[in-house]
Amino acid sequence: MAAPSSPAPALRRKHLRERLRILGFLSPWLVGFSVFFGYPLIATGYFSFMHYNQIEQPAFVGLRNWRYVLTQMPLFGPALWNTLWLVVVMVALRVVFGLGIGLLVTKVKSGAGFFRTAFYLPYLAPPVAATVAFVFLLNPATGPVNEILGALGVPGPEWFNDPSWAKPSLVLLSLWGIGDLMVIFMAALLDVPREQYEAAELDGAGAWGKFRYVTWPSITPIVLFAVVTGVVQTMQYYTQALVAGKLASGVSVGPGSVIQPGYPDHSTLTVPQLIYSLGFQNFNTGAACALSLVLFAIAMAVTTLLMRKRAGLLPAED
């Protein structure tokens, strides 16, 4: 709302009141944004140029932390690789599987309520509980999954205990919790105008033709939305990878103890875990902050993508 160029004093007072009112309504967020986002971001930048171990005073070291993180730290490569692997494979499979379950659910006629609830429930399981459960289910020696596979004559893999199976096991765990995507896709699928299907049928389109020329074009924005938010979520992937690695390694120690994350062979080490490990286990605060900013840069790049209208996150009227 543009203010007139020379308003009468009463009008100006009204505008001032209006502005103060808006500020008042926004104040919880304004405070929160500055204190819990703005300040720590600036401080992270500051510490990334310091040698700091949380005991001694910070000492300026220039770009040394950055050089260490990007070129010398042996675990940076594996952590980045694992994170990118998860981003590509997990997001792709989640979207495909979520869409498949969404389609299935719109086709089910009997017991629809039961199936929808069944598919949705795992999404609600707390990540730690779900991970503990999956480490148990996929336990190579006594887990039910390998018992059943064995009974069927298929030798089960070592799952979380095999470096080449650990990440696929995490993917399986995340496919189990697909409920949110299912609901989003289901709503999008039911929004497709029915007349378009009838028109396509008249034109002689089969099941695939209807999907390709009617369903797909109208759900593309939602698929894009799912991909981009999935990428952002997966870049933060932390709890499941950490807990699975710790439990599968069988190390009988409580939280807070120093163990190398990413069991087995760093195959489940992600960038967020590396930040935690640098900052809170090795007390190399400067390097942890530099690594945080690397993650921040990647996250911002993806977020910028999200801001584009096509991703459908911002309403058109904005």
Binding site: F136, T142, A299
Partner: protein
């Protein structure tokens, strides 16, 4: 926005027909289609539900049997649940989780309502920027800003080892809740707000008397999401409460429970059931608000 629990497609009218006619053939195709769809659905349901079943069955096994890999319990050993509850610390973690989730939800709802209202209803310069900033914080990995925040809580405020560093920030507007509620508020016709103002309602009165009651489903959705977020949170408690086991939450304590009882899968699975139970119970009571919320985040943009 959906009005029923789950969006439903209208039922198709049934066409009567006699055997041998094209109508009967069409009906046979439909039947085969019905069978195929439901077979796939049953298979999928097994994938989603069997983990719960196995976790539950193991949670009532005896120590010996839980190690054996057998699937069905010989005897139903309910005492595992008592054993979990009497494990030192477990009740305290339960209380901390409730406190974190309860206060966190209350604070989030109270702070998100005015902010979401301002972003949805007021026209002002910088509104778009504010929205972009809200969304950016929503997308930001929590690990990026945690180190300086930890240092403030640990070195200046000396409050680490308690749940306060987890709860206090919630009083200052959670980006996700603000975004979700704002999207919901946009669906309320502005005429209601206008007519309240014409009737002489102040802005705050309008918000409390008109908007909040109308936005009840949206508020319920953000409250539920925040409750689940806090209940499920692992990273926050790990950062701020690790040094003091008395301040751990259930999510965080569960992992240590397994570590301390390395071999006792039955006890661990009983504990896992107890961590999962509250969210599932809450879901069955609040299904509608929950599913609406999920739909709203994804579809109504």
């Amino acid at each position: 926005m959906t009005t029923t629990t789950f969006p439903r497609r209208p039922a198709r009218a049934r066409t009567p027909g006699t055997a041998g006619t094209p109508a009967a053939r069409a009906r046979r195709t439909r039947l085969l289609h019905w069978i195929a769809v439901h077979a796939v659905a049953v298979a999928a349901a097994l994938f989603f539900l069997l983990p719960f079943v196995f976790v539950f069955l193991t949670s009532v096994m005896t120590d010996d049997q839980a190690m054996s890999g057998e699937l069905w319990p010989h005897e139903w050993n309910w005492s595992n649940y008592t054993a979990v509850f009497t494990t030192p610390g477990f009740l305290g973690w339960w209380r901390n989780s409730l406190l974190y989730a309860g206060l966190g939800t209350l604070f989030t709802v109270c702070s998100a309502i005015p902010v979401a209202y301002a972003l949805a209803r007021f026209r002002f310069r910088g509104r778009r920027t504010a929205m972009l900033l809200v969304i950016s914080t929503m997308m930001l990995p929590p690990q990026v800003v945690v180190i300086p925040m930890y240092l403030v809580w640990a070195q200046q405020l000396h409050l680490t080892g308690s749940i306060w560093p987890l709860v206090v920030p919630m009083a200052f507007g959670d980006a996700y809740s603000i975004f979700l509620l704002r999207q919901f508020l946009l669906t309320i016709p502005p005429e209601y707000v206008e007519s309240a103002k014409v009737d002489g309602c102040g802005e705050l009165r309008t918000l409390l008397r008109i908007v909040v009651p109308m936005a009840r489903p949206g508020i319920a959705a953000i409250a539920l999401f925040q409750f689940f977020y806090c209940w499920n949170d692992y990273f926050g408690p790990q950062i701020y409460t690790a040094q003091n086991p008395a301040a751990w939450t259930l999510s965080y304590g569960l992992e240590s429970f397994k570590s301390a009882h390395s071999v006792n899968w039955n006890l661990t699975m009983a504990a896992t059931m107890l961590v999962m139970a509250p969210v599932i119970v809450v879901f069955f009571f609040a299904q509608k608000a929950f599913v609406e919320g999920v739909t709203l985040t994804g579809v109504k943009g």
